[in-house]
């Protein structure tokens, strides 16, 4: 269960945990592949410190998990709790985006 009031779970589109979950929703990745994917789809460059800080928090909360690996480049995948959290976050972000769109006279969901 993801708590909405948890202050460590901000719902900002450029929030590193949210970006990581979004990236892992497309399949397991290791650190460098994650950073490259996030830069490609969000235009956000996450440094190694920021990326692993977010990975630490996500793993502690059970939203992602490491996959077995003999390499130092250990891949991670999103868990069921992580998928639920991501879906909830995306719904919330979409709702805000829709409000912004409608107040600007645009059709909700037409931003993309």
């Amino acid at each position: 269960m993801v708590r909405r009031s948890d202050p460590s779970t901000p719902r900002r589109p450029n929030d590193p945990p949210l970006l990581i979950l979004t990236s892992l929703a497309g399949g397991p990745k290791h650190g460098h592949a994650l950073a490259a994917d996030i830069a490609a789809f969000a235009g956000v460059t996450l440094g190694p410190g920021a990326l692993y800080g977010a990975i630490t928090r996500l793993e502690e909360r059970g939203l992602i998990e490491p996959l077995p690996s003999d390499d130092r480049r250990r891949p991670y995948r999103i868990t069921a709790a992580g998928s639920a959290y991501l879906a909830e976050s995306v719904t919330e972000l979409r709702r805000i985006a829709d409000v912004g769109s409608s107040r600007q006279g645009q059709t909700p969901g037409a931003l993309a």
């Binding site: 290791h30 190694p48 692993y52 800080g53 630490t56």
Partner: protein, 313 residues
């Protein structure tokens, strides 16, 4: 396997040991991939170091929340000790900046800032005495720890702190002799070489203080303190935090009084001018004081709550 030409593994020292054991190799691999053989910039190094310090802060916070009540009391008191060490640095900076301020004010306007500075000095002496008392109270347990072979764990950090302290003390003697041959203006910024030497010495003194604080924290985490001693440490920590709060308020009062009556003193301009009273060095001093006080108050709150649980247990 990496040859670690650029010392990337060394950046892991900023992270807590448990974190390094779990994620260290992965982070080094990611840094290698990110740099692609290039040399890490200062900004890159700083960002990794800052992330490591954040992990250390998280680890400390988690330790304080998860440990046994006795451990939480001790950790709360140690948080106050660490905050006090930072406060000493800020206090030293304030003492230097407040030197000779009385000469910039007519006697009728000097009362409030003089009282503020006196309050800071008295509270500093009280807080220092409380810190010494805390060390004395823990001394028997520390001696037992040393007799049980604890010196091996402390030898390296103690030697490092001692060596740096000797260098800092020697440099202070040299600087004092040099300062006597300079005018007041030269001592206060007109002589760039002296200014750089003084800043280097101050940085060394700050690092030495940090090393001794780290030794104290390491030792305190390994000794066994009885319930009565823990209670005493919690009370002393509360006294230190109170003194820090008083000093921070008195410093703000002094700043406000000078900002109104003699802003030129704060900025080192000619008497009678009206520069902005926002001096960068004083601002930094104040920020450190406020942050250290906040950490100390939080540490006291944690120690107090845990002490109540310990007594009830």
């Amino acid at each position: 396997m990496s040859d670690d030409r650029h010392g990337l593994s060394g950046l892991l020292r900023w992270y807590p040991p448990a974190w390094r054991a779990r994620y260290g190799d992965e982070l080094v691999a990611l840094m290698e991939d990110s740099l692609d053989g290039g040399r890490p910039t200062a900004r890159f190094r700083w960002s990794v170091a800052a992330a490591g310090l954040r992990q250390r802060a998280r680890a400390l916070d988690a330790l304080g929340r998860r440990g046994l009540p006795a451990d939480r009391v001790r950790d709360g008191a140690l948080a106050v000790l660490c905050a006090w060490a930072a406060f000493v640095l800020a206090g030293g900076s304030f003492a230097k900046q407040a030197e000779h301020f009385g000469s910039s004010l007519p006697p009728s306007q000097a009362g409030l800032p003089t009282a503020a500075v006196t309050t800071v000095m008295v509270a500093a002496v009280v807080a220092a005495a409380l810190v010494v008392l805390g060390a004395v109270a823990a001394l028997p347990a520390f001696v037992r720890f040393l007799r049980a072979g604890g010196w091996a764990e402390l030898r390296r950090p103690v030697l490092a702190a001692t060596a740096l302290s000797v260098v800092v003390a020697g440099a202070m003697v040299g600087l004092s002799g040099w300062a006597h041959s300079l005018s007041v203006a030269q001592r206060n910024g007109a002589d760039g070489v002296y200014g750089a030497a003084f800043l280097t010495w101050a940085a060394g003194a700050a690092v030495a203080l940090g090393l001794w604080t780290a030794v104290a924290v390491r030792a305190a985490r390994r000794v066994h303190l009885g319930r009565r001693v823990l209670g005493l440490e919690a009370v002393l920590a509360a006294g230190v935090a109170l003194a820090m709060t008083v000093m921070t308020a008195a410093t703000a009062l002094w700043w406000g009084a000078l900002a109104v009556d003699a802003p030129w003193f704060l900025r080192g301009t000619d008497p009678g001018t009206s520069p902005s009273p926002i001096d960068p060095r004083l601002t930094l001093t104040m920020v450190v004081m406020v942050a250290a006080t906040a950490i100390a108050v939080r540490g006291v709150a944690r120690a107090g709550r845990s002490w109540s649980r310990l007594r009830a247990a």
